[in-house]
Amino acid sequence: VQLGAEAHMPLIIGGLFINHLLAKAGLFWLAGLLERTAVRDWSALAGRPLLLLVFGTLLVALVGLPPFPGFWAKWLLVMELADGGLYPWIAVVLLGSLLEAAYLFRWFTHALEARENDTPAAISIGQLAPVALAALLLYLTGYGMAVQFGNGTLAMFLPLLAGTALWLLDGLPGRLKSLLLLVVVAAGGAWLTFDLEGINRIFGFILVGGGVLISLATQYRNDARRGFYPLLAILLLSLATLLRAQTSLAFFFSWELMTVSSYLLITLGRNGVKPSLVYLLFSLGSAYCLLAGFALAYAVTGSIELAALGSTGDAMGVVFSLLAAGFLIKTGGLGVHIWVPGAYAEADDDFSALLSAVVSKAGIFGLVLVAAQLGIRSRIGLDPAYVLGWIGMLTATFGALMAVFQEDIKKTLAYSSMGQLGYIVAGIALMSHLGWVAALYLTVNHFLFKGILFLAAAGVVLRTGERLMYRMGGLIKNMPFTFVATMIAIIAMSGVPPLTGFGGKWLLFNAMMDKGWYWLAALAFFSSAVAFLYMYRILHTVFLGQRKLAHAKLREAPAILLIPQFVLIGIIMLFSVYPKLLLDPLSAAVSSWLGGGLVWDGLALQTHLGYWNAPMIMGIIAVVWMTPLVILLLVSRTMKIQKVEQFNIVYAAERPHRPEDTHFAYNFFAHYDRALGFLVRPRATAFWNATVEWSHSLAATMRVFYNGNGQTYALFILIFLVALYLVNGGLRW
């Protein structure tokens, strides 16, 4: 397909027409079979994988998501609109798409949630055949369109092929499917990413290697998990294709595929259906920002190559802002973060780990890509960069503050992810060699520790059946390995030397001071101090303090959950002792975009301001730490050490009643809330709720025209004809 040619109209109209025809025909047919008029009653489909697959396919096609014809046609339409300078129409088309997605997927949401006293749909395979045929034709025509666009390659469609293969094997036992998934993703991912270079290669290691490592934990469940493994294969492999993308079309295709598959995966969580809709809408909002940005870039440069983004000239500021906004939504930037807690907390426990440790890095990758292409080749990149830096650091601060006040362990970790990604965004915004090395270092580190933390949480949730931290306590006795993993991850996150976190903070601080971003550096100090609060809270309320009587007999988390955690710990330790191993490749990758390099004096990293000799620091701390330990051990040999239970405590000359009453955990930072809680009252949530409210009211107002009265409609047609006549020259003066 050559863009800008007259011959495109058939592709656009034909694509949209076929898409609409098949999807609508299928949906009407399905509605006829089901005989339910109210969308709420479509809950009859809940728990019926095949019906849901067909229904979901039709909806996804209708919204214009990949790989269906509507996706390609819509993309071309938007590009042509941009080429013609019809920018307001792009906004209209995308806003319309978003609203369409909202009501269509709300419908899907109803179909996913089984209700009590619901009679399941009585539809036989034979009856379903025509609908399934429509769905199948959509896939086939979608592929045909991809071929037309020159994107029908194996590399592009590998995620979907892998997903299909696993779907066909969905009847196998859970562990076997998980094993197949690991093989498919490892092999496919390796094939897709082995020839990547520079920054893409580093992200390849995190997204594919990290994805496989953390997916190992899916082995801890042996239930069927219908649809989980195929979708996960699509998600992880689409991350790999994302890294390979050379054109904005290929990038957008993988991005949307990632969005749909991660959305569907979240719906599989226990209470994942509601938050998944919020996730989908924000993700689509993000995707449409990207599409608008790409379209604008195409209009200016006439090319859809990603490498051409840099030559957008005067439009660079707008293109950068649109693309950055898209990626910020995906990383959970402040203000557009409200999808984060729901999605991360309600997804399946092992999938939460993937979402936070791996999938969130796709947004970071996008931001790096855009900043690399746009920010460097121009001088105007500076001011938006400063704004981006502020957004990043405010996200870090408020993410940490919000994490402090959560009772739910997964929500705490979700807000923590949001905050930690804020540091990375600020690092990218620095647009300096050191800043980018810091950002990539923090990215790797976040993957390492957040993978551990979410998997550890999965183990705790599995054993206790609780997510609220104050309902746990004292679990160090039952789950010592999980505790050690959590503790090391938290030290690596906190920035306390000698683990990896310190390097990240040190690099970022130095880069900020170099750049003269003093206020942001101060904010970094504050937010990392605030982060201590929730980090300690996780360790204390879950693992320390008093254990609940009911938890006395809990076992350690399953080994298969612990293995990935300890592999990650091994990597953390390696990079802690010898960060050069990580820093040199990062620096080399960055230097192809931003000139400069790291200055090493032996093993000490030097910056303009300071120096950091990690192996030596590690050694000194080891000696300093061992000395009192050895003394204490020697002393304790001479005295009688009596091991007592947690509840055996001195308590103002009284014995407390029960351990449950004695665990200080609920509302742990009440005093902090009194002082600073006003900062984190849910303003963003209120804003988005108001947006929904306004959309509903507006829609309700518009509805008065559709009153079902034939005469009114006749009047509309008449008015329309008169207007058409007048516009077309009937009105001359």
């Binding site: 903070k505 101060a522 201590f532 301001l609 701390i621 330990l629 091991k643 007592v644 005093h671 002082a675």
Partner: protein, 308 residues
């Protein structure tokens, strides 16, 4: 190489001894001073040493578990390590410690090492008072960290380095070169943060000596407690040395060090004797008002004065 490192650790052991003994003596001095203000006689100078020795040789101990056991180890290692990364006497190779391994940023972050480890140990003791003390202490820490961070950034801009040795070097050649006089705004912000850091009244609620027996260390006793007592003296003195280096021109000899650090300490003591205790939320609000404002002004000030 091994001999060289053994020598370095030997030198550092000497520093450690001097600073620990000095810290204990200063502690006794302050106790006596406060006692005099309140019309009491106070403890003899040997009392802190006797306390440590007595607790250290207790014959029995109760342990709540491995983290409980390691808590005091982390705490003391945190104190020793912080001292290890600070050059104590300017111009002295012997007392420069291991400051060549890391800079001021390392010292600031390493201060958390002992606090975090101790918090974990106290947490495993299972005592609610420990957890309450830690929750309060951490909250207060986030607040005084702000003026302190602003002051540190201000002097890093001023001296254009993160190396503590170079910051001290830049203040040599007379009292008028001290940060106290060249950048008094930053010093003021840092000293206000220092009040919170020392844990004297009005910012002593996390220890709360009356209501909550002794805060986080509640359950610790015998050899555990002796380590914590040692660390309190050592860590206190270490923080004084850090402040002396950053704001008061450092020291070229031990006598100068002792005079200066005692003078810095007296600020916290005088304020502590004069003012009653804040609640945690009050102290957080306090630090976010005037001290933070002064910290912000210190950065603007230093940008006007020292950068072109």
């Amino acid at each position: 190489v091994i001999a060289e490192w053994v020598g370095r650790f030997g030198d550092f052991a000497l520093t450690f001894l001097i600073v620990a003994v000095y810290g204990l003596l200063v502690g006794a001095f302050i106790e006596r001073t406060i006692a005099k203000v309140q019309g009491r006689i106070g403890i003899p100078y040997r009392q802190p040493f006797i306390n440590i020795l007595k607790t250290f040789v207790k014959r029995t101990a109760v342990s709540h578990g491995i983290m409980f056991f390691l808590g005091p180890v982390f705490r003391l290692a945190g104190g020793i390590g912080t001292l290890a990364f600070i050059p104590v006497i300017y111009g002295s190779e012997t007392f420069a410690n291991f400051s060549f391994a890391g800079d001021l940023f390392l010292v600031i972050y390493f201060m958390f090492f002992g606090q975090l480890g101790m918090a974990l140990g106290a947490g495993e003791s299972g005592h609610p008072y420990s957890a309450i003390g830690i929750a309060r202490g951490l909250s207060q820490m986030t607040a005084y960290e702000v003026p302190f961070a602003l002051a540190v950034i201000s002097i890093v801009i001023q001296y254009d380095t993160l190396s503590i040795t170079e910051i001290v070097a830049a203040q040599q050649g007379g009292w008028q070169h001290w940060t106290l006089f060249t950048n008094w705004v930053a010093t003021l912000a840092a000293m206000l943060a220092f009040l919170g850091m020392t844990g004297y009244s009005p910012f002593d609620i996390f220890l709360a000596p009356q209501e909550i027996p002794i805060g986080p260390p509640t359950e610790f006793h015998s050899a555990f407690l002796s380590m914590l007592q040692t660390n309190r003296a050592l860590f206190g003195a270490t923080k004084l040395i850090l402040f002396m280096n950053l704001f008061f021109g450092g020291a070229t000899g031990w006598i100068e060090l002792m005079i200066k650090t005692l003078a810095i300490y007296m600020v916290a003591v005088v304020v502590g004797v004069a003012f009653p205790r804040f609640r945690v939320d009050q102290s957080i609000r306090f630090f976010f008002k005037i001290p933070t404002l002064i910290g912000i002004i210190s950065i603007i000030y230093v940008q006007m004065m020292f950068t072109s």
